[in-house]
């Protein structure tokens, strides 16, 4: 089992690193980018970091608040499902009217991309906390806040992880979409969009590959968190 996993990791590493090498050779030989490429990557990653972290923190907090009261939860759950069924990209025109061409618009799009998914999944987890764990905590004298932080949240982690995983890929899509729709004049989405205007096929393809690679690495990041939490605790199958 362990050996098989190691072999899989090795193969994955070979695939990814050969893809990267081929890509680098390709983009250098075709002179796909100028020096600005790193600024474009940087500004996209910067927005992603702020927007996603914000949505994780606020999403989990919102879910905790909603789960604290049965009636509040019943009222808001359909609203969250409704918000989840709006494709994030459709927010961009709305945001452009409100916040204009700015970092804020892109960050808000990233935020909206994952916020509701994270709320939804965290709520799911909080609803399914093992009641005997809560009882065990109560008899040991835990107060409600300690029960929340030391029992309910860790026991919801398998659901929270699902939200984080879906959220990060939704947010990444939202980022590229927002940048393409003209919410910024920097970033990978902007880059690929202008490549089209200049009929620069090499640049368009290269940018596309960068977007794919970065998205892939981000989801690996969540998988690393998953391995060090729910896999280690044996919660993954629930």
């Amino acid at each position: 089992m362990g050996d098989e996993k190691k072999l899989m990791n090795k193969k994955r590493l070979i695939t990814i690193s050969s893809l990267i090498i081929i890509f680098i050779i390709y983009s250098i030989t075709t002179k796909a980018f100028d020096k600005n490429i790193f600024e474009h990557i940087g500004s996209s990653l910067y927005r992603m970091l702020i927007g996603y972290v914000l949505s994780v923190v606020l999403g989990i907090i919102t879910a905790i608040i909603l789960s604290s009261n049965k009636y509040i939860k019943m009222m808001f759950k359909p609203l969250i499902s409704f918000m989840m069924s709006i494709p994030t990209i459709t927010w961009v025109p709305v945001l452009l009217i409100i916040t204009g061409i700015s970092n804020t618009t892109v960050i808000l799009a990233i935020f909206l991309g994952s916020y509701f998914t994270i709320i939804y999944n965290t709520l799911d987890g909080l609803e399914n906390v093992d009641q005997n764990l809560i009882r065990a905590a109560k008899i040991m004298g835990y107060n409600p806040i300690k029960i929340l932080t030391h029992v309910s949240i860790p026991d919801s982690f398998n659901h929270i992880i699902v939200g984080l995983k879906l959220g990060i890929s939704y947010s990444w899509r939202a980022l590229v979409g927002a940048e393409m729709l003209g919410a910024a004049n920097m970033g990978l989405g902007y880059l690929i969009f202008t490549a089209r205007q200049f009929y620069n096929l090499n640049r368009a393809i290269s940018t596309l590959i960068i977007i794919g690679l970065l998205g892939y690495l981000m989801s690996r990041l969540i998988i690393i968190i998953e391995k060090n939490t729910i896999d280690k605790w044996g919660l993954a199958d629930d």
């Binding site: 093992d130 005997n132 764990l133 009882r135 065990a136 905590a137 109560k138 008899i139 040991m140 004298g141 030391h150 029992v151 860790p154 026991d155 982690f157 939490t229 280690k232 605790w233 044996g234 919660l235």
Partner: protein, 244 residues
Amino acid sequence: MIKIEKVSKDFEKLKVLDKIDVEIKKGEFFVILGPSGCGKTTLLSMIAGFEKPTEGKIKIRDKEINKPGRDRGFVFQDYALFPWKTVLGNVMAGLKGNKKEKEEKAMYYIEKVGLKEFANTYPHKLSGGMKQRVSLARALAYEPEILLMDEPFGALDAQTRKLMQQELLNILKDFDKTIVFVTHSVIEAVYLADRVIVLSNRPSKIIYEEEIKIRGHRDYLNEDFLHYRERILHFLDTQTGIQE
């Protein structure tokens, strides 16, 4: 020590417990025996403070119980261990003080239940019997006066179950605890108990009470043991006849 005064419990319109009235003495190993689906776990949950009686009162040292508290420890049938904590972490979960004190104390109880080598293991890697040992260590570690055990060995295979019963008595020998133990196994009840009550089917009443006095070594073939076992089994036979 624990006074159960005319306690009844209804779930919606279903009457589960009907005027249970009994006193559990300090230091006693008190076993509640009853068929599946009778209110024995409900009764234990009320002593724990997880649920409230519909009628009547439960008092510990003459103080009415209204919520769970650290004067009681609870061992669950499904162990209820925190999966994200190691064995050591689970046993430390109920302790107070600085980290070093907590660790030392937790290790003392982990050694008591014979899991020293597994202190840094996560619960999902342990067998059922081992998990229940951790659960016991966790409940003992913060030194409650009363230990409530809800069919703790119900999910274990026959051999492990017998072993755990022996070990439980062995471990408890060193501590002065009042124990309330719920089971549906007559053998287990007679083997462990100082006193047994038998509950009827719903709505449950106490239909039998017996002090178990076993002379000599407690084992399944002891003469006194067999005597009590026969008596209770015989009584249950007549009861089911009436009930059905």
